[in-house]
């Protein structure tokens, strides 16, 4: 009794104060509202006010709209953590959602209910939602449309059955706000379902285009997103839609403009399912985007950045779009550096033999700036122009040499690095420049610049008179240099010797080889040293080395680095979105089940057979054991025929089991599949955070089958997962005599550097079962003798005979007996080896009812998932 007192605090904190204010019988509406505001304020700054849930809930009934909004806001935030209590609010929700007088209140209640992703609440959502979709007030209809999309994420089936058609009906609503939100909802559902739930045909496109002109900018961008999925039947349709979308390009909102461009890009490029426009026409449409983009470049830097990131994509489909506009991409002195860098990138793409003079003059200006990184990037860009434009390379080189003459240390060094590539592109065009570089030997302090200069000297050692002196100068400090420089020095000295074999160069060669093979720490460097040494000391070594080391080199690729074709196509589809800004496929932002690699599974099947054959003798023995267990009622076939046919374990579908939460960023999906012919747990891990995750370990909880992972290490490549990366690994398991527990769901713990994530998964029993061939009568007898019955009903579109053969393929011995199917198999059991598992199944009206009996209990959910997996 007394112990109670220790836990009841007498301290009166903020929470207690608020609770009293809410509960006090003297509180009037204003007072309660003020208190609620304080609570919401606490909630927004991250205070945990969830303990006030029931107290806040008590204040839900009110006519005061403001107070209602506050309470609803609170509920949305905390309903997830208090699902039981949240139910208490249902009555109010339903009342408010059907309130006759206040459309705002109806909408508010609908929105709140759909935002609370608690299943028990959503079951009451159907009726108000159905009414909401037919409401007389457009604001309520609009809210209901968005609520359908939210409901879809919780209960797709319910949504498909009852709400898709009314939602599509809203596309023809008289109010454009409703239309645009219906489009937004359908787009959202399409993304969630990963399948087309609605198609935009010509008629629909017409409707949308009409609504487009009337709604606000949010609505316009939703509708344009919807139009981006339009697949026209003819070129005329495409041109008609493109023409009407073009009017949106004049919009002041950047999102609308970019969405409009996305529609244009799609319509002009054609696709698998619709015709392509004539190239001239297509270019004409795309060129209309020029002026809007130019004017967007006067918007705030953040928007400029988004636009600039998309410009290269646009250039890839319409290269001459900005041919005369290089000037608009010139950097302003007050541009933030991220904008400047993007502009440089675009300028390098726009540079042509016609405008190179202007652009180079501009670059020269940039190289005087104080931002060192920007200056370096500018110099690199000049080099890229030199490599891309053969006719203008001289002009670029002249600028680079001018920059070298400034003697500013970082300018000189970057210029040397860049020039190295120019030399590689035009092997014998700029020899006179080499002498000028050698003057700056002393000012070099960065490894990259040094390595570049040493490479140049080595490469042209036959034409540089004092190459030996220069290299000798570097040799003095070889011990202090970075490995990159040491590598280049080694190669350069070898080249020098091969070009000018003499006593002095040979001495230098000796000293460098001696150094790298005896004193250097870097094993790669030593190996390369030994390689040269061996080569040179072989018979006829000098000639051979000349042929190899001084061989003609392929010239540098002239193309500036481009995105690969598939990524570019993918990004064009998502023009103007986050995907095109990050230049990563949109799918990489969300957790997607990885498609199975076909070539992979082929090899697995082969190895499958081998391992099965090996295990055949053990199998026979188990069958005998089982016969004993079943009390001798068996007609066990002779061992020769018990060797089972090769089994193929089909992958089960990976399902999300752990979502990132509470500061953890690891998402996990799990299923079962084969690994080297053996059954294994398949786990896909995805890092949804910003930091690397490492230290992957896996462990199973005690389970009735005695399953244990073969190794605690999960085998994630490199044992590290980069941000955004996904890795699918197989966790093979064996059976140990683990202590018996009742729960047949396999509980798995994945330990990483950010903590332990746990989930439970039904074991597909055919992965661990072994067939026990018996005739129908014996199975029936065994079934009647066995206990622990579990029942399951699964959808089954197949006939009894098909099911029978599928079961046999999956490794469960099955025979048809009348209209039912009898199966017999054994399941592992940690403590006793194996126990029998027999089922009677009946297929009727598209469903299969299974009654399972045997040594294990509580199998009904495992049987359900097994049958679902086998029936596909």
């Amino acid at each position: 009794m007394a112990a109670d007192n220790y836990f009841s605090t007498t301290k009166r904190g903020e929470l207690q104060e608020w609770r009293d204010e809410l509960n006090s019988n003297n509180s009037n509406n204003t007072k309660i509202r003020e208190t609620l505001k304080k609570i919401i304020a606490g909630m927004t700054v991250g205070k945990d006010v969830s303990s006030l849930f029931s107290d806040v809930l008590k204040t839900i009934q009110t006519d005061d709209m403001e107070r209602k909004k506050l309470v609803y806001l609170y509920l949305i935030n905390y309903a997830k953590t208090n699902p039981d209590l949240a139910i208490l609010a249902v009555n109010t929700f339903v009342n408010d959602a059907t309130d006759r007088n206040h459309p705002l209140l109806r909408a508010l209640a609908l929105r709140t209910m759909s935002c609370i992703r608690v299943e028990s609440i959503t079951e009451y959502l159907s009726e108000p939602l159905r009414l909401g979709l037919e409401d007389t007030d457009p604001y309520v209809r609009k809210t209901a449309a968005l609520a359908v999309a939210k409901l879809f994420s919780i209960d797709p089936e319910l949504c498909r059955d009852h709400f898709m058609e009314p939602l599509k009906g809203l596309l023809r609503d008289s109010n454009q706000m409703v239309v645009s939100n219906a489009v937004a909802a359908l787009t959202d559902i399409t993304q969630q379902a990963r399948e087309t739930v609605w198609a935009v045909d010509k008629e629909m496109a017409d409707t949308l285009l009409t609504a487009l002109t009337e709604c606000n900018e949010w609505g316009q961008s939703y509708i344009l997103d919807g139009l981006a999925t339009f697949a026209p039947q003819s070129v005329e349709d495409a041109e008609m839609v493109a023409e009407r979308v073009c009017s949106r390009l004049q919009h002041a909102n950047s999102a609308v403009v970019l969405s409009a461009i996305r529609v244009l890009v799609r319509l002009t490029r054609g696709g698998a399912d619709f015709p392509t426009m004539a190239p001239e026409k297509a270019q004409e449409f795309l060129r209309r985007a020029r002026a809007p983009i130019v004017s967007l470049l006067t918007s705030p830097p953040e928007i400029q950045y988004v636009v600039l990131r998309n410009v290269p994509l646009l250039l890839s489909v319409c290269p001459d779009m900005f041919a005369a506009d290089a000037r608009v991409f010139f950097c302003r002195y007050n541009d933030p550096s991220y904008v400047k860098v993007e502009k440089l990138e675009i300028l390098s793409r726009l540079a042509s033999d016609q405008n190179i003079d202007t652009i180079l003059a501009e670059f020269k200006e940039y190289s005087q700036e104080v931002d060192v990184d920007f200056v370096r990037k500018t110099i690199q860009t000049i080099g890229r122009c030199a490599i891309a434009l053969e006719q203008s390379a001289n002009k670029c080189m002249a600028v680079l040499l001018e920059l070298v003459a400034t003697k500013v240390s970082y300018v000189v060094q970057e210029a040397i690095v860049v020039m190295k590539d120019v030399f590689r592109r035009y092997p014998s065009r700029f020899e006179e420049a080499i002498a000028r570089l050698a003057e700056h030997l002393d000012s070099l302090d960065e490894p990259d610049a040094k390595a570049s200069l040493v490479w140049i000297v080595g490469e042209y050692s036959d034409r540089i008179d004092n190459a030996d002196d220069l290299l000798d100068w570097f040799m003095d400090t070889i011990a202090e240099e970075q490995p990159t420089v040491q590598f280049q020095l080694l190669t350069a000295v070898v080249k020098l010797y091969l070009n000018r074999p003499a006593e002095s160069t040979q001495a230098m060669l000796h000293s460098v080889l001696e150094y790298v093979t005896e004193k250097a720490d870097d094993p790669d460097l030593r190996d390369r040293g030994f390689l040269y040494w061996r080569m040179l000391s072989a018979d006829n070594g000098f000639e051979m080395a000349r042929r190899i080391v001084l061989a003609e080199r392929p010239t540098l690729n002239a193309k500036p680095h481009e995105l690969n074709e598939t990524l570019r196509e993918e990004l064009l589809k998502h023009f103007g979105s986050l995907a095109s800004v990050y230049q990563r496929p949109a799918a990489s932002f969300t957790l997607v089940a990885q498609p199975q690699d076909d070539s992979d599974s082929d090899s697995e099947e082969e190895s499958d057979e081998e391992s099965e054959e090996e295990s055949a003798p053990a199998q026979t023995q188990e069958v005998d054991n089982l016969a004993d267990l079943l009390g001798g009622i068996t007609t066990a076939a002779p061992p020769a025929t018990t060797a089972p046919a090769a089994r193929t374990f089909k992958d089960t579908k990976l399902a999300g089991v752990v979502a990132p939460a509470n500061g953890k960023t690891l998402a996990v999906m799990a299923g079962f599949g084969p690994s080297n012919g053996k059954p294994a747990l398949k786990v896909a891990v995805k890092n949804m955070g910003q930091a690397h995750i490492s230290g992957f370990q896996v462990q199973f909880n005690k389970n009735p089958f005695g399953m244990v992972p073969e190794s605690m290490a999960m085998g994630v490549p490199g044992d590290s997962l980069a941000p955004g990366a996904v890795s699918t690994v197989a966790v093979p398991f064996t059976f140990a005599a683990a202590p018996f527990t009742e729960n047949p769901r396999l509980q798995v713990a994945v330990k990483t550097s950010e903590g332990v994530a746990m989930f439970a998964i039904d074991v597909p029993l055919h992965f661990i079962a072994e067939p026990v061939p018996m005739d129908a009568a014996s199975i029936l007898a065994a079934w009647q003798a066995a206990g622990n019955e579990d029942r399951a009903i699964v959808p089954c579109p197949k006939s009894g005979a098909e099911v029978c053969s599928l079961l046999n393929e999956a490794g469960i011995h099955a025979v048809a007996e009348g209209d039912s199917i009898l199966t017999s198999a054994s399941l592992p059991n940690g403590t006793e080896g194996r126990v029998p598992w027999v089922c009677r199944a009946m297929v009727k009206a598209g469903q299969m009812a299974v009654a399972s009996r045997g040594g294990h209990t509580g199998l009904s959910s495992a049987v359900t998932s097994t049958m679902n997996a086998i029936l596909g």
Binding site: D55, L57, L85, I87, L88, A89, V90, N91, T92
Partner: protein, 175 residues
Amino acid sequence: MKFGSKGKKSITALVVGLDNSGKSSIVNQFKPKKMMVKEITPTVGFKIEEFKAAGTSWKMYDMSGQGRYRNLWSKFYQEIEAVVFVVDASDRLRMVVAREELKTVIESPELSRAPVLVLLNKTDVAGHEDSATVMDLLELPQLLASHTWTMMSASAVKDEGLEDALSWIVSSVRT
């Protein structure tokens, strides 16, 4: 007990009972004529009704009686001044369940001082149990030994015996 003492100005009451015992109907009848609603549907979660009657302003928590929500009643015990336990007089089968639920409610320390009104509803239905039987079935005298309590018959449908109920609460709530 202080009979005849002047009641409090406002009273917060908790209305509980098994599902379909008629809690919402009773509360509806407590309310002034113009606030009444015509149709009563099963309550999900709870409702709060605020109204003036019998010279007092009332705040009643009308809780859902469905089995799965009953454990949520306890969230509302704080600040409760009176308990109304509604019993369906025609539902003899579940009297035992009702007794258990009532026991759980009145055993909670927050409600140790609250007067308990057991309201026998549906006395208009033919074949209903009479109050003496119900009192026996519910073992009220033993159960409510430490509480101020009474039992009244009423019919929400016919609006019988409800005025007395409110006045009893007003007089028994300790000021």
